[in-house]
Symmetry: C2
Subunit: 150 residues, 2 copies
């Protein structure tokens, strides 16, 4: 087990809270790097995958751009541009919302569903592999993270 102190060659931290922030940023980088390797062959980014997953969760009900934004992991990400990129790839459709012409209805296409299903198997297995914890430990981690942000 490589402790965060060794990984970034920092001998000590102000306190365990500051260490935890650094540890979380470093662990995030570990996860993102691991996930990127998984996604690369598919020509789709983790963020784009996440948008597809949100859309499928709607079960055929069109979703607006702002609704996608609300459900993204990173609230500062730009759903508008991600949707545009997915549209270029033919994985989503965009259409003007009839009852409010400011809004845009976004729907995942058949091709999008296909790509998503294929990717999901790999991603879900990958995520399990990346997290080297017991079931008990991972449940504890989830509770701690939820509390941390509170």
């Amino acid at each position: 087990m490589v402790k965060v102190e060794e990984a970034i060659q920092q001998k000590q931290f102000k306190d365990p809270f500051n260490k935890a922030v650094v540890n979380l940023l470093y662990t995030n980088s570990y996860l993102v790097t691991s996930q990127n390797a998984l996604f690369k062959p598919y020509g789709i980014s983790p963020e784009q995958y996440n948008v597809l997953r949100i859309l499928r969760g709607q079960n055929g009900v069109p979703t607006t751009v702002s609704s996608i934004q609300d459900r993204m992991l990173n609230k500062m990400s730009n759903a508008s541009r991600l949707v545009e990129k997915l549209k270029v790839k033919g994985l989503v459709k965009r259409s003007e919302c009839p009852n409010d012409r400011r809004q845009v209805d976004v729907l995942i296409t058949e091709e999008g569903l296909k790509v998503l299903a294929e990717l999901q198997v790999k991603v879900e297995q990958g995520n399990k592999d990346f997290v080297n914890l017991t079931l008990e430990e991972v449940n504890l981690l989830n509770d701690l993270l939820d509390k941390l942000r509170g």
Copy 2:
């Protein structure tokens, strides 16, 4: 306490391991957003701050670009460009390494040390505030994160 399921409006996950990956990505976003607000008035990014911190840790001994890279939280970040930006701001000095002209010695300037010291107080207090856990819980979190990557 807002659970990650509510925060991103996802009802369930494949398993607790997949939930943990999502939870970590989401918590990272929470921390980065919190930190950004802190850094903004100083015109310096968290990544640039981290480079300054690494340089000061050398206690006046010049550090090469690749050595900075090794110590960064994100191993894929571009130390060369971050150093260039810090140099433009007058916070670091760059000089050719005499015994190996491929390498570049990087040193933090007096101005860099001043900015770093000022920022560090805010960042360390902020990090403590962002992590809503007891001392016992945060120690446990650090252990779980170290093991997770193992």
